[in-house]
């Protein structure tokens, strides 16, 4: 066998075996990793905004199709058999990348039940303060029609001091979320029944 063929063959076989093995491992761990990511990133925020829910928020999640290529995970919240709220995640562009905002909606009043920050890579100690309750609690009970802008931009939101960009990211996520919810309300409601 000429040298060149031997080299190509050896390297190809090594790559093939490696690729197959990793493909198998990826498929085997995919589901568990997905649950781990949800449990560690989204669930703390879902639990915080859906206060009082007694269903298994993680396992009751639903993945709904909203037209082409837009799948969203929604988290219905129940108390007993009473479906009272739903949480959805949206994101806005912050100082260091996307800021994920979990938006809890109270189905009875149609208002915000609360918001929680899921993922962010903002400046530690400045932008990350948007995670704290002092900032997030102001959204509880706000109408979805509220002007989600920081006060400096003419809206109703008290920005985190020194972290206007992060606060704006949260506002933009909420604007998107409110718009999305209003447009797809029926679909979401039938989807989580």
């Amino acid at each position: 066998m000429p040298d060149s063929v031997r080299i190509v063959l050896a390297l190809s076989i090594i790559c093939l075996v490696s690729g197959t093995a990793l493909g198998g491992l990826y498929n085997g761990t995919k589901e568990r990793i997905e649950i781990q990511v949800l449990e560690n990133k989204q669930m703390p925020a879902v639990r915080a905004v859906m206060e009082g829910a007694d269903n298994d928020l993680l396992n009751d999640r639903k993945s709904l199709d909203f037209g082409e290529k837009t799948k969203r995970i929604v988290f219905p919240a129940k108390k007993g058999s009473d479906l009272f709220g739903v949480a959805l995640e949206f994101s806005g562009k912050g100082f260091g990348g996307d800021v994920g905002v979990m938006m809890g909606i109270d189905l009875k009043s149609g208002k915000l039940a609360g918001i929680g920050i899921t993922t962010m890579s903002e400046t530690p100690g400045v932008g990350t303060r948007a995670k704290e309750a002092t900032f997030t609690k102001q959204f509880k009970g706000m109408s979805l029609d509220a002007n989600f802008n920081v006060k400096a931009d003419g809206g109703v939101v008290d920005a985190v001091t020194g972290a206007t960009v992060t606060s704006r990211a949260v506002c933009s996520a909420l604007r998107d979320g409110a718009k999305f919810y209003k447009e797809n309300k029926d679909k979401i409601l039938t989807g989580i029944q």
Binding site: I7, A10, I14, S18, L22, R32, I33, N40
Partner: protein, 200 residues
């Protein structure tokens, strides 16, 4: 050298990063706490032992012209496996180690052992070499991690060491603290390991 010697040389005589002074990037970056150090160390032991064994098994098959490429494929396979398994079973650890787990691929300790040892020696000796060097690396990370966590955060494995009144020396947790710590450790190692000069 016997199998036992192949193992123990990694613990002192050729201990990375203090003796070989290889793999400094993760050494400096992840040693902010003992937990991170152990997580990183165990991942490296696993990758190093597996890749050493496999490369030693394949050393007659791999054409020498493309051996580096073949080694990298083998190493990368094990690293990705570690990354997936860590995400699935130790999620918070994988979050705190972040990019440094995938970066084990380019850790020169591992490629160095493949090239300098596993490519030329038997499977058992290569396994012993991998586990030994890996353990040495883990011990180094743990000693640095302990120093930086105890003085920088006042804790050891998350438990308070000095009580509530201790003001942490935050410098130790930051990058410059890592360099200073590593420098001091290298100095101590050099004093301890200096060859004895016969008195005239």
């Amino acid at each position: 050298m016997s199998i036992a010697q192949e193992f123990t040389k990694g613990l002192w005589k050729e201990i990375p990063p203090f003796r070989l002074v290889l793999g400094l990037c993760p050494t400096l970056a992840v040693t902010t706490s003992v937990e991170n150090a152990i997580g990183m160390g165990v991942s490296v032991i696993f990758v190093l032992a597996c890749s050493n064994m496999l490369i030693s098994l394949l050393r007659k098959v791999i054409p020498k012209e493309v051996r580096i490429a073949a080694y990298i494929v083998v190493i990368a396979t094990f690293v990705v496996a570690v990354e997936l398994l860590m995400k699935a079973f130790f999620f918070s650890l994988s979050e705190s180690l972040g990019i440094f787990i995938p970066l084990i691929v380019v850790n020169c300790i591992i490629l160095g052992r493949a090239e300098a040892f596993a490519g030329k020696n038997g499977v058992l000796a290569s396994a012993a070499d991998g586990v030994g060097i890996g353990t040495g690396f883990t011990l180094s990370l743990m000693s640095l991690g302990s120093l930086r966590e105890i003085f920088g955060a006042g804790t050891f494995l998350g438990m308070s060491v000095f009580g509530p009144n201790f003001e942490p020396f935050a410098f130790m947790q930051q990058a410059p603290g890592a360099f200073v710590c590593l420098g001091l450790m290298l100095g101590v190692m050099n004093i301890l390991g200096r060859p004895k000069v016969a008195k005239a």
